[in-house]
Subunit: 407 residues, 2 copies
C-alpha cells in the first residue's frame, strides 16, 4: 500500500514552489514558478527511471515500462498550474498521487502488463490562458494545436511564447501517446464528501460549463453634474445583470444552477467618472445540458434588460462550452471496486469542476477519484485535505490503475 | 474684447500635450505630461512678463502687476491635470481663458488697480491622488501640507515625490499669496445650459460631495462545485449594493440625489473563482447637506444588507467630504453683471462638480462662470465646447476680473 508520509512530503515540497502569502501556491500556467514545479517532478521521475516526453503544447508524459510495451499505456495524472491565489492540492494531488502510485509499484517490484504514463497537462486552470483544460482539450482534438499556441494571456503573451520561454515547447505530436485508459485523482472542491463523512467520490461524470466574455458600452461622464437619468452607466448595467442572475441561481431549489462572475474591469476607472465601459466574464454551469441552454437564454435576457434599463450596449460572446460528460463505465467500476475492496466509505457523484479528464474521456476510457477537502473550499489559499485523506485517495487511484493496466 | 481664435489656438496647443487616442487628453496630475503642460503655460506667461511663483504643493501663481501692488491680488485660473481619458476643456479652459484675459489687457494697455494672479492648482481631478481639489484645499487650510505631500497614488508614489520628480516642488508657503478675490471659468459638465440655449452659467454654489472606500470580504472558492447557497461572493454583494443605490437615486423625482461607483477591483480575479474580496469607491452628491446625510445613511444600510444577504463582511470608510458651498454674493454679482452687460443669455445655477473655487471660497471671495458643453459630457475624450462658447465665457471672465480688480 502507498506511503502516506512520502506523498505528503512531496505535496508540501511542491507547495514551496511559488508559495503565496497565506499558505497557498501561485504557479500560473507556464510562468517561472510553473516551470520550477515541472522540473521538480521531472527530477523525481528520473529517480524512478521514468522516460520523459513533452508534446507541442507542453503536456508532459513520464513513462514507466510495462510487461507488454506494444500495448497502449494507461495514463494517470492531472495538472501542476494553480489559480493566482490557489491551494496546495488542486491538480497537484492528482500528479503527485500518480507519482506515489508508481513509487509504490517500484517498492513492491510490481510491473503491470500495460505501460503507465504519469501525465501533467498544461494550463488546466484557465486562469492565465482561457479556456480551462485547453491542453488536454488539444490532446483530445477539441482545439487545434495552432489555436492553442495562439491563445493569449491578459498581457498579450501567447501560450506558444510562454512554452518557448519556459522550455516546455516539446516535439511530440499532440495526441501522442494514445492512452488505453486514464485516471485522475482530485480534491472534490465542494462540500458533499466532507458533509457525508465519505473518504472517496467515485466520479461518474462532470457538469456542463460555458464561459462568456461580456462587454458593456455606455458613456463615461462626470459623477457630479451628470443627472442620473442622463447616464449610460456601464457598471450599473453590469451590477443589475449580476444581481438578477445571482437571484435566479439562488432561487433554483435543486441547487444545480450555478452562475459566477469572476472578473470585472472598468475601462479608465476613476472615482468621479461614471463608468463608460465594463468588461466581465461569466461562468454558467448545470448538470443538465437542456437546463444549461435555458440558463444561457436567461443570461442573455437579463443582460439585454440591464443594458436597456441603463442605456448601455451589451454584447456577450460564448468563448467556451464544455458539455455534460459521462465517464467510462469500466473505469468507473475499477474505481468503485478499489474503494469497496479497501472498505472505504464512498459515493458515486458528479463533478462540479472541469478537469483534464473531461477532454481525455473523449479519446480514452476515463474516470476520476475525489477526496474531501475542508469546507469544500478550493481556488483559495486555505484549501486543505489531510495527509490521511490524500493517502486514501492515492490508494484507490493506485489500485484502480493496476487493475486497468492488467486487464 | 478677447480674441476667440487666440484662445482656441491655445486650447488646441495644450491638448497636443498628452493627447489620447480619441481626441481627448491624458495628463494625470504631476506626470510628465502634466509637467509639459505647465511648462507650456509658463512659456506663454513669460512672453507676457508674468512673474512665476510655485508653492510647496505645486500650485503655480503667475503675477501681473497692478497700479497698487500693495493691495492683495485677484486670482483667476483652474487646473491643467486631466482624468485618465479626459477632455480638452475641463480645467484647461479656466487656465487658458485667464491667460487670454491677461493677453487682452496687454493688447489694450489696461492696468488694473489690484495685481492679478493666474493660478494653476495641482491635482484637481482627484484621479491620481484622492481627494479631488487637494492642493486648493491645502491652500485654503483644509488639509495640512504634510498630509497632502504624503497622499499616494495607486502605485504608492506620494504627491511629494511626484512634485520632486517633475520639479514643481516650489518654495512659497502654501496659502500665499492671499487673494482679494478668485474667479474660475469652467465647462458646465452637465446638460442644463445647452438644453436651455444659454451661453453663461452664473455659478452661485456647489453641491456637497462625499467619497468612500468600500471593502467587501467574503471567501473565494471554486465557481463549479461550490453550491450557490454556500458562497460568500464579494462581487455579488457589491452588485446588489450598487444596483439598490442606483434604484434609490433614480427614484428621486428631484434628480438631486447622485450616486456613482467609479472604481471596482476584484482581488486575484479569475474566471472560475467566486470573488473573495472586492474594493470599490463610491461618490455621493446632493445639493442639500441634510439630504446628503440621509443618502449616506441609506448607503450604509444598503451596504450592510447586501453584505448580510451574501455572507460578506462589508466595511466603508468616508475618505472625503466637501460640504455644500455658497459663493460670495459680490463676486457672483460681478459675473452676472458682466453677462448682462454683454447681452448674453445666462442663468444662475449650482455646480454639480467640485472645483478649486470650492476651497478657495473659504479664504477669498469667489465665484465661477460656466459655459455649455456638448451633451453635458465631460470626463470623457469627446468633451467639447465650441470656439464661440469658450470665447463668450472668457469674455465674461475677463470683464468680471477687471471689475473686481478695480473695485
Ligand atoms: N479543477 C479545476 O479547478 N478546474 C478548472 C476548470 C473549471 O473551471 O472547472
Ligand atoms: N471639475 C471636476 O471635474 N472636478 C473634479 C472634482 C469632482 O469630482 O467634482
Amino acid at each position: 500500500s502507498i506511503d502516506e508520509q512520502r506523498l505528503w512530503d512531496s505535496l508540501m515540497a511542491m507547495a514551496e514552489i511559488g508559495p503565496s502569502p497565506n499558505g497557498g501556491s501561485h504557479r500560473l500556467a507556464l510562468t517561472d514558478e510553473d516551470a520550477a514545479g515541472r522540473h521538480l517532478l521531472i527530477e523525481w521521475g528520473q529517480a524512478l527511471g521514468l522516460a520523459l516526453r513533452v508534446d507541442r503544447v507542453g503536456n508532459m508524459f513520464l513513462r514507466r515500462a510495462g510487461k507488454r510495451d506494444d500495448l497502449d499505456p494507461i495514463g494517470v495524472g492531472s495538472h501542476l498550474d494553480t489559480q493566482p491565489k490557489g491551494g496546495r492540492f488542486d491538480g497537484v494531488l492528482g500528479v503527485l498521487a500518480g507519482l506515489e502510485a508508481l513509487r509504490t509499484l517500484d517498492d513492491h517490484g510490481v510491473v503491470t502488463q500495460r505501460p503507465l504514463e504519469l501525465v501533467v497537462w498544461t494550463n488546466e486552470e484557465g486562469s492565465r490562458f482561457a479556456p480551462a483544460m485547453v491542453a488536454s482539450g488539444t490532446y483530445a482534438g477539441v482545439f487545434s494545436v495552432d489555436s492553442t499556441l495562439a491563445r493569449r494571456d491578459r498581457d498579450g503573451v501567447s501560450l506558444g511564447e510562454a512554452l518557448t520561454a519556459t522550455g516546455f515547447n516539446g516535439e511530440m505530436a499532440v495526441g501522442e501517446p494514445r492512452l488505453a485508459g486514464f485516471l485522475e485523482l482530485h480534491i472534490e472542491q465542494g462540500p458533499v464528501l466532507e458533509e457525508n463523512h465519505e473518504a472517496i467520490g467515485v466520479v461518474t461524470g462532470v457538469q456542463g460549463m460555458r464561459w462568456f466574455d461580456v462587454t458593456l458600452r455606455g458613456q463615461s461622464s462626470h459623477a457630479g453634474p451628470t443627472p442620473m437619468r442622463y447616464r449610460r452607466d456601464a457598471l450599473a448595467a453590469a451590477a443589475r445583470c449580476i444581481d438578477r442572475l445571482q437571484a435566479h441561481a439562488l432561487a433554483d431549489p435543486s441547487g444545480d444552477t450555478k452562475v459566477t462572475c469572476g472578473t470585472l474591469e472598468i475601462d479608465a476607472a476613476s472615482r468621479n467618472v461614471v463608468p463608460g465601459e465594463v468588461r466581465l466574464s461569466l461562468d454558467l454551469r448545470h448538470i443538465d445540458e437542456g437546463e444549461l441552454d435555458a440558463l444561457e437564454a436567461r443570461f442573455e435576457e437579463e443582460l439585454a434588460a440591464a443594458g436597456e434599463a441603463f442605456g448601455v450596449e451589451a454584447k456577450s460572446e460564448r468563448i467556451w462550452a464544455s458539455p455534460v460528460v459521462s465517464f467510462d463505465a469500466g473505469c468507473v467500476d475499477a474505481v468503485e471496486g478499489a474503494a469497496k475492496a479497501r472498505g472505504m466509505a464512498y459515493r458515486r457523484m458528479l463533478s462540479g469542476a472541469g478537469h483534464d479528464a473531461v477532454y481525455v474521456s473523449r479519446v480514452a476510457p476515463t474516470a476520476m477519484v475525489f477526496i474531501p477537502c475542508r469546507d469544500g473550499i478550493s481556488h483559495n489559499e486555505v484549501e486543505y485535505s489531510s495527509p490521511e485523506q490524500c493517502a486514501l485517495g492515492a490508494q484507490v487511484l493506485c489500485d484502480a490503475l493496476v487493475e486497468l493496466a492488467n486487464r
